[in-house]
Symmetry: C2
Subunit: 416 residues, 2 copies
């Protein structure tokens, strides 16, 4: 008699984005003639650049000829792509061997699966607010208690609060934890950890033999040379940190699907033999994964070429110009805005201490702009909304103009 | 202090294919002028057909224009592809709703991950011999004891022996089990379950509220109309069976990566609410997966078109002609051969009661042909080797000729 994994029942029912979509659809039904502007979901919108397209076509052509067709590749990804990634890190003076890279079909799967390397009784610390996958994967794996509405989180999870006074990046925990999820540049806050902040976590992890799972999926959006692009810029991080990254926001591969994870040879847990975590992840990928699409991998290799990098960075600059336009517009509307300078997300304080969902509704119904309520990412997101800089320029400008023209009036009405 | 998942340590060290590669490389080093023929790994070799290539190019082109670019899709796969799959099953009179399909990046990941739906204390039954992923994923999840060299398997697993007298397809277990992995057409034996055999498992599962995880990745190789192509041809299977399938061997997508899994709404476990397993798998995919590559999905849609199906079936016919050539040649060499009529694998009895690895070595060293020792798939594989029909025609013919010319002599020498 098969018994089901009841941990799935613990997952908080309402997932954020479906609820956003439901409210938007409901309003659109009420007012079918209103044009809604989207500043919500973090999905890329700009086409893939020419040299990536060329590489994808070339790989498809290769699959059409017996002499160049290829089937199964290595589960850890092609040697060429892993060597190119090693070179990409070397360009910022970080030495990572090509066999420390594991090519995946995107950061989300790795972010969810890496916990499988550890025992069920490990204590998990999560940034608050955070991308929901870190939490939900650990709920399914049985590392949490039930969801508690009062605290707005799961029992047995350690929430690391990101406060305005710390630039929304948390301090290391006071208690002893075993696994720590960090995301920088952060989704949803757009906050980027400083060298000092990351160093404090690396010091904590080495002192406690904790392991940091570091999500750097937005690293290419960092333009400030004084901010770390990878946790391995902190000495000793290779003993305590796994880094996840992705071509999704780097190169517009949200649909193409390609990412990578670095599990260093030197990584240690409390009870691991030298190199054991690296070997376990290799064995894990050989059992639970069969390699990323060879077409996507050919595209990834083109991304890392000199021409490809320049083209992808031009697209990133385009999104970051969107972010600037949004920030300026929202500031002119009197809003307090964080993030959006080294990340494609802006973290906007709600006016008049409104709750996130209330301000979301006001922006939707009065300004006709769809955003994402910060409280959906954790209790510390309450009182904020997330705005995404992904979108076509004209649509972004229209959305910002709509807020500028209508927000003051809408807030006045609210005040009455 | 992070603690590692020690179940990884239980995994039997020597994975089959690396050991095959090691022995082949070692022999090639001894005899660098010998040309080795490959009848080993189950990897597709023929190029993708024209209408699939055309669809892949068209999707790449779409990604190059702002108006047609798309990013994240639904985690469960595109509606168009799921509807096409529903139609594909309808063509053999099996009704499956489009929302019962979950598009994946291939059967292997689903085969490994589906166990996550169930509690750790579920008892697992596995065909013997079997594809190693079913076993290894349950080892990592903690459902087995340690590996026992004497029994040639893991403690706490129930092995369902596939014997020659039953056509290498097992009978349902005598004891009570909770999860049952079946693969038909089978890798490695090439055996295909009959309607009666599948019915006996469906009856067992319904009686015991067990769940069958049914791997049908080679279903398109079945040409005999009296053999079931899907477990859902057995009435009641939708209450007790999850089916996994793949475009890998169907359409040469081993490198492109695309598969699907069916979790019926009616599926039940001992303690599940109606539709709960279906909902849990949806939630699982939304958390641990971000959808298959949109390029691969466009290719999959082309596979299921009328023209695409005909082209892919022509490639399958090519591999099955390889299988016929191999079978005839091996029979002429005096070997006893099973499978290879509705599956791309042939299951060859070793002569003179040789052990699998001994016959593998003889074929390698005397006949210069690489095969796969049956014992690598489980204790019941001892005394057999697996031969794969994937390969270019000329290479297959050369390999068979090499066996025909050298085997008799090699066996004679052995006898002396």
């Amino acid at each position: 008699m098969a018994r089901i994994n009841g941990n799935f029942r613990k997952l908080a029912a309402g997932y954020l984005f479906p609820e956003v979509a439901r409210r938007a659809a409901s309003f659109q039904k009420e007012q079918p003639n209103v044009k809604l502007h989207k500043l919500g979901i973090g999905n890329t919108t700009e086409p893939l650049p020419p040299s990536i397209i060329e590489a994808l076509h070339a790989k498809v052509d290769a699959l059409s000829h017996a002499a160049t067709y290829s089937g199964y590749g290595d589960e850890q990804g092609s040697t060429a792509l892993r060597e190119a990634l090693s070179g990409y890190y070397r360009s910022i003076n970080v030495q990572i061997q090509s066999d420390e890279f594991f090519i995946s079909d995107g950061a989300k799967a790795d972010a969810a699966n890496l916990q499988q390397l550890f025992t069920e009784d490990c204590t998990v610390a999560i940034q608050n607010p955070a991308y929901p996958v870190y939490v939900d994967s650990n709920v399914v794996a049985g590392r949490t208690g039930s969801y508690n509405d009062l605290i707005g989180g799961y029992r047995n999870l350690v929430y690391l609060d990101g406060r305005e006074e710390d630039g929304f990046f948390p301090k290391p925990p006071k208690e002893k934890v075993d696994l720590i999820y960090l995301c920088s540049p952060n989704n949803p806050t757009g906050a980027v950890a400083t060298f000092d902040q990351l160093r404090s976590f690396v010091d904590y992890a080495r002192a406690h033999k904790a392991v940091i799972i570091y999500d750097a999926a937005y690293a290419e959006y960092i333009s400030d040379p004084n901010l770390p692009k990878t946790i391995y810029q902190i000495p000793g991080a290779d003993e305590c940190a796994i880094e996840i990254n992705s071509f999704s926001k780097f190169a517009g591969f949200t649909g193409v699907r390609l990412g990578w994870t670095i599990v260093p040879h030197r990584l240690l847990a409390e009870d691991s033999q030298p190199d054991e975590l690296h070997k376990f992840w290799f064995r894990r990928q050989c059992t639970f994964f069969n390699g990323a699409s060879n077409i996507a991998q050919a595209g990834g290799l083109a991304v890392l070429s000199e021409g490809g990098l320049a083209e992808c960075r031009a697209v990133i600059a385009y999104y970051m110009e969107n972010a600037r336009i949004i920030r300026e517009g929202l500031k002119r509307s009197g809003l307090t805005v964080f993030g959006g300078d080294n990340a494609p997300y802006l973290w906007v304080k709600t006016p008049k201490r409104m709750r996130s969902w209330d301000f979301f509704d006001l922006l939707l119904r009065q300004c006709h702009v769809i955003t994402t309520p910060g409280s959906g990412f954790g209790s510390c997101g309450e009182g904020y909304i997330r705005i995404s800089a992904f979108g076509h320029r004209e649509a972004i400008a229209e959305a910002v103009a709509s807020i500028e023209h209508t927000l003051a009036k809408a807030l006045e009405v609210l005040h009455e």
